[in-house]
């Protein structure tokens, strides 16, 4: 488990946390972070994916705002900062950074060459955009926020995409969920999973809305989806 340096498409560089599987090599996964930076939760996600046999890379996509920032969801001040970061974040540049991370991971010694993406919260939206704007071999988004405003890009999806939707998501109101389901339900490349009663971030271990049953179900679905499309 180590930090690697990723070169940005428009100059400069940033770090990414890379977790490598025990065997030394596996399919790659670019993990798109929540709004708290590459923190302990995101590193644990990468470690868990590595335990499943993947080379998991979580790029520091807030580096343009504050390199290396990592905060928790435990205090009001941190929440305030997280939303500031979210508002300052340039989505298009962030996707460029994730694509650079993906390209680097494809050629990394720990990677078989196949690379997917998995993202949470803000990263859930970014994983949707990785499906529409990158050559990721598959993408998974957990409770992505703001996808309803990006559905015009859905026609560009070329590889399998799975979205986990929390039906009680405080940041994705029912009309937004309806719009997402309506726009994507007929797409053979898209799998939608819906979790009744689950709130935003239901799979964030230790989070206020952690829902073990929903999280376990979503994670098992993700594992199967990744295995099917990345050959992990």
């Amino acid at each position: 488990m180590t930090d690697i340096t990723i070169r940005a498409p428009d100059g400069g560089s940033f770090t990414g946390y890379l977790a490598v599987p025990k065997g030394g090599k596996g399919p790659g996964i670019v993990v798109a972070q929540e709004i708290f930076g590459v923190n302990a939760v995101m590193r644990a996600v990468c470690d868990a994916l590595a335990a499943e046999g993947y080379a998991a890379l979580c790029p520091d996509i807030f580096w343009r705002i504050e390199p290396g920032i990592q905060i928790t969801d435990k205090t009001e001040a941190e929440w305030k900062r997280a939303f500031e970061l979210f508002n300052l974040f340039d989505v298009d540049k962030g996707i460029g950074d994730l694509k650079a991370g993906l390209a680097q991971l494809r050629h990394h010694p720990a990677c078989t060459g196949k690379v997917g993406s998995v993202g949470y919260c803000l990263g859930g939206k970014l994983s949707f955009l990785m499906a529409t704007r990158s050559d990721a071999d598959c993408s998974v988004g957990y409770y992505g926020v703001g996808i309803q405003d990006l559905l015009g890009e859905a026609k560009n999806i070329r590889k399998p995409l799975a979205l986990h939707i929390a039906e009680k998501d405080q940041f994705v109101p029912p009309p937004a969920q309806q719009a997402i389901k309506q726009a994507l339900k007929g797409n053979p490349l898209v799998t939608l999973y819906s979790y009744p009663g689950a709130d935003h971030a239901f799979a964030r271990v230790g989070g206020a809305h952690y829902d073990a049953a929903a999280a376990n179900l979503a994670n098992s679905r993700t594992s199967e989806f990744l295995r099917q499309h990345l050959g992990g």
């Binding site: 070169r7 050629h107 050559d135």
Partner: protein
């Protein structure tokens, strides 16, 4: 980065591998074109006259070594640097690429720093 900007042709029938390598080289400040077959490689090389060609050896239809031999016979590619990209690194593999006219033999997964140095040289 623009001081050493080179025109590069990347050849690999694995599109994802070709495109991602092209992207990494572009980030390095180079002008890169990716193609996915031997015939495209020969055609585009003739048109673009790149300074460097990075070629995967395991191309369907025409083997990468044969493509290199043909490129060495093309007047418009005089002076081009040919880099072989392959999963094999035994002495006989290296001899084979040398005999075909490659300047360098890179074993996958490619060391990006080494590739950058060879491209910029």
């Amino acid at each position: 980065m623009t001081a050493t900007r080179k025109s590069i042709l990347v050849v690999d029938d694995n599109r994802d591998a070709a495109d991602s390598l092209a992207m990494l080289l572009e980030i390095g400040g180079h002008e890169v074109t990716a193609v996915y077959s031997a015939s495209e490689a020969l055609k585009r090389a003739s048109e673009l006259r790149p300074a460097v060609i990075v070629m995967d050896l395991g191309l369907p239809q025409i083997d990468g070594c044969e493509v290199a031999r043909r490129m060495r016979g093309m007047a418009e590619l005089k002076g081009v640097r040919l880099l072989a990209l392959t999963g094999h690194g035994r002495d006989e593999d290296r001899q084979r690429t040398r005999d075909a006219g490659f300047d360098h033999h890179l074993v996958k997964p490619v060391d990006l720093d080494e590739l950058e140095k060879l491209v910029a040289a």
